[in-house]
Symmetry: C2
Subunit: 208 residues, 2 copies
Amino acid sequence: MSTQLNDNSDNASAREQLLEAACQIMRDGDTVDLSLSELSLRSGLNSALVKYYFGNKDGLMQALLERDMTNVVNALQALVAKDMPPEEKLRLHIGAVIDTYFSFPYLNRLLMRMIRDSAPAEAKRIAELYLKPISDAYSSLIADGVDAGKFRNVDPQLFYFTVTGAADRFFNARQVLKHCYDQHEVSEALRDNYREHTVDIIMRGLLA
Amino acid sequence: MSTQLNDNSDNASAREQLLEAACQIMRDGDTVDLSLSELSLRSGLNSALVKYYFGNKDGLMQALLERDMTNVVNALQALVAKDMPPEEKLRLHIGAVIDTYFSFPYLNRLLMRMIRDSAPAEAKRIAELYLKPISDAYSSLIADGVDAGKFRNVDPQLFYFTVTGAADRFFNARQVLKHCYDQHEVSEALRDNYREHTVDIIMRGLLA
């Protein structure tokens, strides 16, 4: 270990800078591919630090997944535990998923890429950390709504696909907007309109 | 040009074999990355034929996009032109999108990849061939339904995002099914259930 890196706040900051640079590369490039040279350029840090903090590029991608997904899982579990009508919980959740994908458009691709490319035991670990808790939360949310007579009895597994798919629309969205709608950015106003539109469609589609 | 390749039916067949091999690699691997050696292995054909028929790998990906997307665009335009209630058209269309992505789970990723990685003029051409006509069809379908008093007045652009997102769920689906639901294939039964589920959610969400 290098003695130049002993100050904890600097450590934290360089580590976070690398993660944030990876995040920006993926977000701006509509990609989940990273090159060490681009990381170095974007972060202003020597790419040897990737090895130092994360072991290798895969380790960095795993740390980025952890940075972004842990909040998602925790927030959903906290929401499920709340004392609140199921339809209100679900409205909040669908809106939150859209906000998450707006901020981290690569997130679902990165998660799937890590699962696809990892050895089986590691793939299982990632799925259990980030996929299974979400899937369980959907089962619980839908069951509560059905019990309360509010939701149609939809398959929570299929409903999870629906919500993820509808929300995960910001990766590559620039391409569609530019070439079909002559719009040149994925603005916060578009996000807000799309949040309202999607919550509306899905909730009307689900309500009994 | 090689004289060994003059027989037209063989030409067609070798060309189609290469496209089908590319399709299978993308479908089975949840990827839109191709290697010439894998193409050669999968098709049983010399990878020099890629150069012969398509110029290069990009040319082959473009031909695959054309093979799969042309039918999609034509079918949608034919549907829009039909004398049929708008809600019935849209039901049929949403079902068809799901069937398309089940058969070609890579299709949306391939389209976006080609647009992202092409020079601006070529990106525009691809968007005008495959994105714009679909976007126009949505505007027309939604306007007809609103005029008929059947649909809520949703933004057709946002609605296009909703449908594509909900339907484009088969890429990587194996990973989720295996690790969350202990299912080991994306079966036709799952496709049929998901088609019904999605048509139901979206149509209920749209109807006035």
